[in-house]
């Protein structure tokens, strides 16, 4: 009896050693901490991951356009109650999209991913000799750029936001909101630091990034990553948002002087509006762009302006979610020969670049229409357009705006004419026809950048300069230009306070 028990015990303990393998297995679904930050493939994955998170934050519920193009209320909403609530500035309404847009979690995912990268990248440098000093420098600069961009984007939406610059991994603590001036100062210093380290192009033998970046060629990276000019472009935007027009002039000058080095150029109207043109795939000309390349099996049903603007006859959908009414179109595109949209002498549109079905009840805003890989097949609503946060025309117009504000009228008019109006088939700016220079520049912005997520912020800058927009000026005064902070966030973090306008 005793022998049996003893024997059993001994064999049991031996058995447990033999079966240890069965219970000590790594997950096949996730990568544990011990298998991460070892080789340069890990830094590449983490870098790409941070880009992917940024794209997700912009694309979620079409946030980029709902913030930028829908909120101004210039587009008319057909049936979607949530979009109506946004247009009506009814941002407390309990629709899932409105709730998602008031939640900043996705931006903080970008920030946490970036913070983690900055804390851990040295481990890879130490372990993997293939990971060069330059590779690390450029990676870090991009990550710092993405983090700064995320903060900038959030400040424009919510005003004051918590400023968190380390991952706090496993030791998370609630943080209160920091004044937006401080956050923007951080953003600016980070962007300047990144700008100094970033190359003009990748895998193009740039002096700051020699050799093949992650062993891929130039076309693979073209326009997909943050570059030197990207950092300057966002710096320009930050300065403009702060109303610091001397800085706008400085940063934008760098871009205007150097855009050739980045492979950038001003584009034709046809390129801008062709289905397989500017917005398709990825391009150097996307100063900051996040592609959804159809060829990479990356096109999607949502996360594109097309989802809310296109409808029959461009795609199979009876009504667009939003449209620009005929009257609005005519008041915005009020100059003849505009290649984007204008009427001929018979009162018919000269083309269907910006608007299709102009004479129907619902004109379709079809400037951006990358169906699948830029086809005209209306049957399947999958879109491949990149989210272009900024491009050269945007920076040129910001520069014109800055020069105009700073009193350098000639410089402003020159940019407006040479870089924009001429390319769009318009005559030179004429104060008698086009009115006030500032007004003309902002009108040009409205036409040129329509549907690219700029309009809301443009209106705010415009209202600050001209103070002729009582509704927006009132919102600027009482903080109503910001979004409410999601109730779910306030429940989670008791240090957060609601924006006063939304209390």
């Amino acid at each position: 009896m005793k022998k049996i028990i003893l024997g059993s015990l001994i064999s049991l303990s031996l058995l447990s050693a033999g079966c240890k393998k069965a219970i000590e297995i790594d997950s096949k679904r996730v990568v544990g901490e011990k298998n991460m930050w070892l080789v340069l493939e890990d830094t590449r994955a983490a870098l790409i991951g941070t880009y992917g998170l940024t794209r997700a934050a912009l694309a979620d519920n079409n946030a980029h356009w709902l913030y930028g193009d829908v909120r101004p209320g210039e587009f008319t909403v057909t049936n979607r109650q949530d979009l109506k609530a946004i247009v009506d500035n009814n941002l407390n309404a309990s629709y899932s999209a409105v709730e998602a847009l008031s939640n900043w979690r996705r931006w903080y995912a970008v920030i946490n991913s970036a913070n983690l990268f900055l804390e851990r990248v040295a481990e890879v440098k130490a372990k993997d000799p293939r990971y060069t000093e330059n590779n690390m420098t450029v990676d870090i600069a991009q990550i710092r750029f993405l983090r700064a961009f995320a903060y900038f984007y959030m400040v424009r939406i919510w005003g004051d936001v918590p400023l968190i610059v380390s991952s706090h991994d496993g030791q998370f603590e609630n943080v209160k909101r920091e004044s937006q001036q401080k956050v923007l100062a951080f953003v600016e210093s980070e962007l300047i630091a990144a700008a100094a380290l970033l190359p003009y192009k990748y895998s193009a033998n740039d002096i700051q990034q020699p050799g093949r970046y992650y062993n891929e060629d130039e076309t693979r990276w073209a326009g997909a990553l943050a570059r030197k000019l990207t950092a300057y472009a966002i710096l320009t935007h930050v300065a403009a948002w702060q109303g610091n027009y001397p800085n706008v002039a400085t940063y934008s000058k760098f871009i205007m002087d150097n855009y050739g080095k980045g492979g950038n150029g001003f584009i034709s109207t046809d390129e801008l509006t062709r289905a397989n043109g500017f917005f398709n795939e990825k391009k150097n000309n996307h100063l900051l762009g996040f592609n959804f390349d159809f060829g990479h099996v990356d096109a999607s049903f949502t996360g594109h302006i097309e989802e809310i603007t296109l409808a029959s006859p461009v795609v199979n959908k009876p009504l667009p979610d939003i449209y620009l009414s005929k009257d609005s179109i005519l008041s915005v595109f009020n100059e003849a020969k505009d290649q984007r949209f204008s009427l001929d002498t018979l009162g018919q549109p000269i083309n269907a670049r910006y608007f299709t079905n102009f004479n129907g009840k619902y004109p379709i805003f079809s400037k951006i229409k990358v169906i699948q890989g830029g086809s005209t097949d209306p049957t399947f609503r999958i879109f491949g357009s990149a989210i272009v946060v900024t491009r050269l025309e945007d920076i040129a117009l910001l520069r014109a705006e800055a020069l105009a504000v700073l009193g350098e009228r000639d410089g402003a008019i020159e940019i407006l004419n040479n870089n924009i109006r001429r390319n769009r088939g318009l005559d030179n700016y004429n104060p008698l026809i086009n009115g006030n220079l500032i007004d003309a520049i902002f009108k040009e912005r409205q036409r040129e950048l329509m549907g690219e997520g700029h309009r809301w912020y443009d209106l705010i800058r415009y209202a600050k300069i001209r103070t002729t927009m009582p509704k927006i000026n009132r919102l600027i005064e009482n903080g109503g230009i910001y979004w409410p902070i999601s109730r779910n966030l306030i429940i989670q973090n008791n240090l957060l306070t609601q924006n006063s306008h939304w209390k």
């Binding site: 998170l53 519920n61 996705r106 995912a109 399947f380 999958i382």
Partner: protein, 994 residues
Amino acid sequence: MRFIATITFSGLLCLTTSSFGTTTGYTHVPGYASLLNSQLQTDTAKNKKADTSTVDTALLKLSPQRKSGLLELKLKSTKINPEKLLTYPAVSIQQYLKGQAAGLYVQETSGEPGTMQNMFMHGTSQPLFSAREQFQTQPLIVLDGVTLVGEHPFSFDIQQYKFNRIGPATNLLTNIDMENIASIEVLTDIAAIAAYGPRGINGVIVLVSKTPDKANQIAFNSFFSVGQRPQVTTINGKYENAFRKQFYDKYTAAGRFSEDDTYPLYLSDSLSNSYYGPSNWTDLYYRNSISHNVNAAISGGVERANFRFSLGNVRNQGVADKTVLNRYSTQFNINMKPLQWLTFSALVNGNRVERLRNRNQRDRFGQMNYVPDLSTPLSPNKEMYGNFLSNTDNGFDDNKTNILEGSARMAINVGTFSFASRFGADYNEGYRDLFYPKTLLEGNSYASNYYGFNQRLIFDNTAMYDLKLNSSHNFHFELGQSITWDTYKYNYGYAYKGFNEFIKLNLLDGGGGSSAFPKQLLYKFLDKTENNLLSFYGRAVYNFKDNYTLSALVRADASSNAQPTSRWFVSPVLSAAWNVKNELLSTNDLFNQFSIRVSAGRLGRIEHFDNSAQGPQYTAELGFTGNITTPGYNAFAGLTRPYTYGWVGYGIPWAYADQLNIGTDISVLKDRLRLSVDFYTKTDKNQLLGLPSYAEYGYTQSFESGMSVNNKGIDLTISGDVFSTGKFSWTPALNLNFNANKLMALPRNLDQIIINDKMLKVGEPIDQYWLFTNEGIYTSDADVPVVNGVPMKYNGITLKAGDPKWKDLNGDNAIDFNDKSLNGNALPKVAGGFNNDFKYGNWNFGVNLYFNIGRQLINQEMANRFDFINQESGNTINSVKEITFWEKRGDFSKYPIYNPWSTVIPYRIDQDLFLENASFLKLRTVTAGYDLSSWFNSKSKRPGKLYVYATANNLFTLTNYTGQDPELVSYTGYDNGYGMTIPKTYTLGIRLGL
């Protein structure tokens, strides 16, 4: 084949480290299971005796024979006689066991054959948010010692719409042909379930196959059944238009709420025959269903080797949407006794289950991940609807599932020592091959292929030793070891816009279908997860004079899904039984049986998701709402922390349950009245809960340990031979469970937490709804209460005429989440069955009733109907209208006419306006049978049994619930109207044994 090779190899690996022969093992020996279980029945003692006697005639005992003394240790279990279940035309274990055992609550949420059904034993240990929690709370099913593996819900991670799991989504518990089953036991007692380890934490259902008999026998059983087409009231566009008109009349001036308001086209044209014509779609949707079941079994052999082999086929038709389940089953059992001290037995149970699934649009769009234009719903007109159906028929939707259990067991019996070793496997694989033709989707075809398997391999050993010191003291010792390897895997691919309709390649094959579909629209997924468990246990039982029995069990379990720092979990269970009758009442004539039993102990809870074992981790979650499966950017894979899934840190311990059971079995009046009462309290501790937090670090939630949930209640079973005089007898049997659920603690010692639309509050049940209290309607703006000049607001929006009057619970003149309160229960407080057996001569009759009391539902279907403005506004999956939209359900007059355009969303579902009492009583079975054996034996040379019967099922449901049958609602408690009617069926059957 590869799997078997791998397994044998790893089995050997484990074996070589021990000396074979002395290794003890842990088995789920059927005989032994009953050793520790009371013989309590839901029906009659007589049946019980008949049942045991058939087992006794078995030639070979799989378990060592025990002295009767040890049999007195009684733990709570409910034995169900499968013979009683056979007249019900069921296909799944859940259907068979519904209302049969106190403490086992079954949800049959759709009458569509072969769909998922839920079982909960003694409530739920965690809030049921999704399929994840549902999976984690299901009981363990054991067939002849093989613990069945379920379908892991990990594939939901890649599903934007989580209505059904990808793949065939067939209920894997349709793998039992009840004709092959000799006994069913429902175990809830901690001492009983502890033997099955952490996988049995939610309760265990033990199925034992019929044992071969040396006498050659043939059995043939069959039934034929007809399901009755439901009679429903249909509506058409005119009705819907009139319904909507009242809102337009009340809240709009010119038939439009605003300039941009557009009235749906399909209702705009009152001359359109498609929507305003006859609503006769039901002719194509509903039908009288025809089902059958055939089973033939043969058994035979010689003294030392025998077998039983059975073949069966079930075809079960649903009454709606041409749904069908077809099953082919075969089972083979063999027992051999090559030497006097050596026995060998093997089981193979193979099932092939095929399904024709429903053609719901929601499920189709959800599967496709694409929502086409929904502005034109299906027409209620038969011709138009017929066109849609014939388009569907041009595609295919093949759902095939193969389910295979196998085990081989060798036992050595030398005197009072015995050793058993078992190798078992449960493997199920599902295939779904799907093709939707162009005509169904605006000119785009869609194809999808799925192959996935769930596999469990079991290797266990048990050693037992019996010691009898003298006639008073008996000992039983047992040591066991078990290792199980679980592997779950799937390959999945889908593609859009095929080049033509005729090339239908399997996307998962090498070519990947890129010749049939554009490669940019071809998506493929692979996923795999494992979950291994290593266990040891020891048990000692002491019995004194048949009066007292004490038992102690200690087990140690190691799980691959536990964190490395807390891999092992050690837990004890103690139990005791006292035979009061023997000791105190042996001369008392009133009591025939009186025993009391107590058990208390702890058992670990298996973690099913391997994320938890990893601590901080990285994954590819770069998607966003509507596009969740993005693995990378710029065609490179990305890795980030699992921000959407949630933070997982270090220091996650095992979750476990502490349980106490106290019960008594009494039978009096010459065994005519039998009563069994069990009190239980079970506290599941240290459970993981995703707490919404750390949004400023990017996470949706943080998985933290510390949730504790208590379920306590009473199982009651009472049966009596009310009449048993002469030829007539009547035996009613009532079983019911009362369960009360309570949240005891939250992680971080929080008092409450809000998760999605649910509020979890310590001290309150976890299945409650969190709702606004609706008190009517503001008929004018002046009605809205004003405090300090500020009218009442809902989340910052000023309430107006036509908005609901929600109760301002905290009196701050603002309606927000602080004014929600906990209300209702999604799981019933009381559930049970009332079964009656009547006998008259060779006739017997049965009447089974099934009831739920104290359950409330949210009638979401009605909420959606009234909230048509928001439902139709977005062309989202919520806007989908099924053909059943044209069926009149619910009581429209119950609800006030609010302003549906209001941004407060007056018909929101988180208010008690849609909360209804869903208690019900259902007449589940009425059966009449006649035993023709004597007539048969007078005609036949070979003696046998012949029995014919007729059954009617689901004849009526008594309920106050105004929606569909309240049973057709899942664990969340939201009635979305998707449950397909459980039909009334009429069955004729025959049972023949030779």
